[in-house]
Amino acid sequence: MIEVVLNDRLGKKVRVKCNEDDTIGDLKKLVASQTGTRPDKIRIQKWYIINKDHITLKDYEIHDGMGLELYYN
């Protein structure tokens, strides 16, 4: 179980607990349940790399405590 931090630099900072083998799509659903936006409106980025929905966190090498950027579509 890892915990990632998502920050949208406008006031929303969210800590989400998830598994390493969750996909980005699952992570978006978890974030959506915490922030209240729709999961398809969320875009998770790491410095211009837009993370795709079907790839797991492990494959993106997202580790425990890592910060991701939260943008909106």
């Binding site: 179980m1 607990k17 998830c18 598994n19 390493e20 969750d22 699952d26 659903k29 978890l30 349940s33 729709r38 398809d40 409106k41 837009i50 795709k52 929905d53 909106y72 579509n73």
Partner: protein, 370 residues
């Protein structure tokens, strides 16, 4: 300049009509080439020509959320605000289904509640196929009536948050609308009559049996059961055993369900009275034994062979029966095991983790691996 709403346009829901579309989607539409090239200076008439060229519906798609031409044209309609007659014309036209869907979409966004129900419900009868662009860029097959249903029941479609409207029954009670009359009503009535004739004895049964009813009462299944019963009838066997055999094999219902669950209720059913099938079959086959059973009640059927297999049951507790196949004992054991320890982690001692697992379970994800 080109993105400003027509100054003579009314405000929808208290705001600029273009604000019905969210800011981000709106910006994406304004930056889109289709909007800039084709939608410049469109009027209601030229809009119709553009709409006739549409070949799919959809919201935004792709990694950078590109809007579809459908969305751009809806935006244009919001901008120029055509009159209600024109929109109704769009909906009524039969030749171009995408024009129809577009008109319906616009009406749903801007019309009043009674108008929405009045004009969109007839479109439930339109079964034509419609191409829809999914958010990841692929095309999906859907139908006009599915789209209309989505418009009327959900609150988000094609990347636009659809305004809330009053429920139908509210409007009916206000008198603004008549009760909904479905085109399939006549067909339903026929079906109901047929079903009523078939299922006379069944109303007493537990409500959950409704599912059983649909599965078990179809004429084909009844016929199957009868054939199988007949085939066993002439064999040199204990009748009761045959009956059990038939019930287990021929009914099919038990095969597919958790036997424990079914068995209890099924048993209770037997005890309660005369199961429908038994009545009918008895009438059909007119076996002496059946007649006797009917007179003396179901308990009688607990003959020697039955007792060998089952214990007399007056209680609802699940019984293990080797006569039936090995699945029931295993399934019930598993069920018991599950009750003791939830496998989705929602009973974890740490409340945070339990809460996280609860959310994950509600989203359909596996629990956290600790």
């Amino acid at each position: 300049m080109a993105n400003r709403t027509d100054p003579a346009a009314k405000s929808i829901r208290g705001t600029n009509p273009q604000n019905l579309v969210e800011k981000i989607v709106r910006s994406k539409i304004y930056q889109n080439t289709y909007w800039k090239e084709q939608c410049f200076g469109l009027t209601a008439e030229t809009l119709v020509d553009k709409a006739m060229e549409l070949d799919h519906i959809g919201g935004t798609y792709g990694g950078n959320r590109k809007p579809t031409p459908f969305l751009c044209l809806v935006m244009k309609m919001l901008q120029i605000q055509p009159e209600k007659d024109i929109v109704v014309e769009f909906i009524k036209n039969d030749d171009y289904k995408y024009v129809r869907v577009m008109g319906a979409f616009y009406l749903r966004l801007t019309g009043i509640d009674s108008d929405i129900y009045r004009y969109l419900e007839p479109l439930y009868n339109d079964y034509r196929k419609v191409r829809r662009k999914s958010p990841d860029g692929n095309f999906i097959l859907t139908h006009v009536d599915v789209v209309i249903d989505e418009l009327l029941t959900t609150d988000y479609s094609c990347d636009i948050a659809i305004p809330r409207i009053k429920k139908r029954w509210t409007l009916e009670s206000l008198g603004a609308l008549d009760a909904r009359k479905s085109v399939l009503e006549d067909d339903f009535e026929e079906e109901e009559e047929k079903d009523e004739n078939e299922q006379d004895g069944l109303e007493e049964e537990a409500a959950h049996e409704k599912q059983d009813y649909y599965r078990g009462r179809s004429p084909v299944r009844d016929r199957e059961r009868d054939y199988r019963r007949d085939s066993h009838r002439h064999r040199d066997r204990d009748y009761d055993r045959d009956r059990d055999y038939d019930r287990e094999r021929g009914r099919g219902r038990d095969r597919d369900r958790d036997r424990d669950r079914d068995r209890d209720r099924y048993r209770l059913r037997e005890e309660k009275g005369y199961g429908y099938e038994r009545d009918r079959d008895r009438e059909r086959e007119g076996r002496e034994r059946d007649r006797r059973d009917r007179d003396h009640g179901r308990r009688r059927i607990r003959s020697r062979s039955r007792d060998r297999k089952r214990h007399a049951h007056s209680s609802m507790s699940p019984r293990r029966h080797e006569a039936e196949d090995g699945n029931p004992p295993e399934e019930s054991k598993k069920k018991k095991g599950k009750k003791e320890k939830k496998d989705d982690g929602t009973d974890h001692p740490d409340p945070e983790i339990a809460e996280a697992n609860r959310i994950r379970a509600s989203l359909g994800l596996k629990p956290l691996k600790l």
